[in-house]
């Protein structure tokens, strides 16, 4: 990796300015959505468009709380519950599985690994119809459970593959020392390995949450009641009904981004770790 020799002086200033310009261009769509959500409907349709809200309008956010089928704060809570549930399932199941794949050479290990890799590539389209029929049979159709159970199938393979690398990098001596001290396998796993792998577990939790948060297909297909649908499905329905009510729509979009932005601010390093580790074998 080598130590970085910092660029200084004028060249540094020029490169900084260029990079910030690029960033502004790439993030312009977000900026535009934010200011649209704060404009009045009339100002949105003004020509030429205004690049900041001349008349600050927070009505688009407030109106959502009070009325309508499309209460975005209820959808928000639904999404939160669904994402949290599927995150829990994914982490609880993936942690022991990835530990086993990293540390044990049991029969069928390679096939198992292959299975997780393949499931990670699957398109929702393949699972949607059979899951729909299955959930109807299981009587979880049109409940939060259907989305929770389905969303966890995205988080589990991702988490197993990431955590496997974390566990593999923990030296075996640590575990052996625990056995000498009289720990059982389960004891050593819970008391020694899980705490050491904690950063990896956080990566998995964050990604499992984000995957579920971003899901539209499952939430929209398996949950019919608008009251119980996640926020992505709420947006989609809202678009269908009030297609050009851009002030409300963009407010909806901004509210959906809030948790993503918070995760970005507080967990940036975990996100980078997840993106790079998950894709390229470490």
């Amino acid at each position: 990796m080598g130590e970085e020799r910092k660029i200084t002086g004028n060249k540094n200033v020029i490169l900084c300015i260029i990079s910030i310009l690029i960033l502004c261009i790439l993030l312009f769509p977000l900026f535009w959505t934010l200011i649209t959500s704060l404009k009045t409907e009339k100002e949105i349709f003004s020509n030429p468009p205004t690049f900041y809200p001349h008349e600050l309008n927070t009505q688009s956010y407030a109106a959502q709380v009070e009325t309508g089928d499309f209460n975005m704060f209820r959808s928000f809570a639904n999404s939160f519950l669904i994402s949290l549930g599927s995150m829990l399932i994914a982490v609880v199941l993936a942690v022991p599985a990835s530990y086993a794949i990293a540390k044990y050479r049991f029969k069928g290990r390679k096939i198992m690994l292959l299975f997780f890799l393949v499931t990670q590539m699957l398109p929702v389209s393949v699972l949607l119809t059979p899951m729909f029929i299955m959930f109807k049979g299981m009587h979880v159709y049109n409940t939060w459970w259907s989305a929770i159970l389905a969303d966890a199938t995205i988080g589990i393979p991702f988490s197993v593959l990431i955590l496997k690398n974390y566990f593999a990098s923990i030296p075996g001596e640590l575990e052996e020392a625990a056995y000498i001290d009289g720990c059982t396998r389960l004891g050593a796993f819970m008391r020694i390995l899980v705490p050491v792998a904690k950063p990896g577990i956080v990566v998995c939790a964050v990604f499992s949450f984000l995957y579920a948060w971003g899901d539209l297909a499952y939430g929209m297909t398996f949950i019919l009641d608008q009251q119980m649908r996640p926020i992505t499905a709420g947006i989609f329905n809202f678009m269908g009904q009030y297609g050009t009510k851009w002030s409300y729509l963009s407010a909806f979009a901004i509210v959906t981004i809030i948790p993503v932005a918070l995760i970005f601010i507080f967990m940036q390093k975990y996100i980078i770790a997840g993106m790079t580790n998950g894709a390229v074998k470490g």
Binding site: P29, P49, A97, M112, V118, P123, T129, G214, L216, T232
Partner: protein, 299 residues
């Protein structure tokens, strides 16, 4: 009983730890994959789903598909969409990675902020691009008009000529961060000394890019492209929310067409067949990914 205990005593104890996750995935993914194949060989529609009268009709659904113009159109669209996205997100992502790997002050924070588009739910991204490319109030039309590139507003998403372009632009926006982050991580693994000694030997920037950077980045580039293909080929939410496959099927992908067959026309078996074609193509490319990842996984 003691035999069972002995089996799980040593390395096979690993099975116990991994069993819960495996069983879960077998129920909720393994079983659906199999049942999707079975479903595609039957004639299940909303009419006979609840009555349970389903018949095996062999590969008739698939035969029908290959005479179905919308399906063929979706197949072509999916390829155009995937390949255009891959090319643009890779080139832009690579350029940004090279630029942001130079050690100037804002390089790191900018690289961080770039990730945001990748994290946003695709439904929201779809909404954002609909807003930007709206005909009357869209800021893209406004900007193009103000630099006199166009005189009349373009119906970006409601014209079958331009809808695909907008969908591709939106997906490239999501894909750039992914490419930038992975490639720039790959770049940091190249020892700086190589460039220094090349410079001493009189190599210019272009030569060291083609002789050092590209060859040493090969495995990263491979992974980025293969993964990019897998992620892009199965994109569903983005297109469904932006256009629902329209106008006049001009943006239907295999994923959206499969959804339409199953959940709008309620031809569950047809939907499954389309999804299986999608899966088959995905797996053909996926094998490369499996090979890369399974390398060095000893038994």
């Amino acid at each position: 009983m003691s035999g069972i205990k002995r089996f799980f005593r040593h390395e096979n104890a690993g099975l116990l730890f991994s069993l819960p996750a495996c069983i879960y995935m077998l129920i909720f993914v393994g079983y659906p994959i199999v049942s999707n194949i079975v479903l595609s060989l039957q004639d299940v529609t909303v009419a006979n789903l609840s009555r349970g009268e389903k018949h095996f009709i062999g590969i008739q659904n698939y035969m029908k598909l290959f005479q179905d113009d919308v399906f063929l159109k979706s197949l072509g669209n999916t390829l155009v969409f995937t390949i255009s996205c891959l090319i643009f997100q890779f080139l832009i992502g690579f350029a940004l990675a090279l630029f942001l790997n130079r050690p100037f002050r804002t390089a790191r924070p900018v690289r961080g902020f770039l990730m945001i588009p990748w994290m946003i739910p695709m439904t929201v991204t779809a909404l954002i691009f609909k807003l930007l490319f709206a005909t009357d109030i869209g800021v893209v039309n406004y900007l193009l008009r103000s630099v006199h590139l166009i005189s009349e507003n373009i119906d970006w998403l409601t014209s079958s000529k331009t809808a695909m372009l907008v969908v591709i632009i939106a997906n490239v926006w999501i894909g750039i961060p992914f490419n930038t982050i992975l490639l720039s991580t790959g770049l940091t693994t190249i020892p700086q000394e190589l460039y220094e000694s090349a410079a001493i030997d009189g190599a210019n920037a272009r030569q060291s890019f083609f002789r050092i950077t590209l060859p040493l980045l090969r495995s990263t580039i491979e992974s980025v492209l293969v993964l990019g293909f897998i992620y892009t080929f199965k994109v569903y939410d983005l297109v469904y929310v932006m256009t629902s496959g329209g106008p006049v099927n001009s943006t239907h992908l295999l994923s959206t067409y499969s959804y339409k067959q199953s959940f709008e026309l309620f031809n569950y078996s047809m939907g499954s067949s389309v999804a299986n074609v999608l899966l088959l193509i995905l797996l053909m490319v996926g094998i490369i990914y499996l090979k890369i990842t399974m390398q060095g996984e000893e038994d």
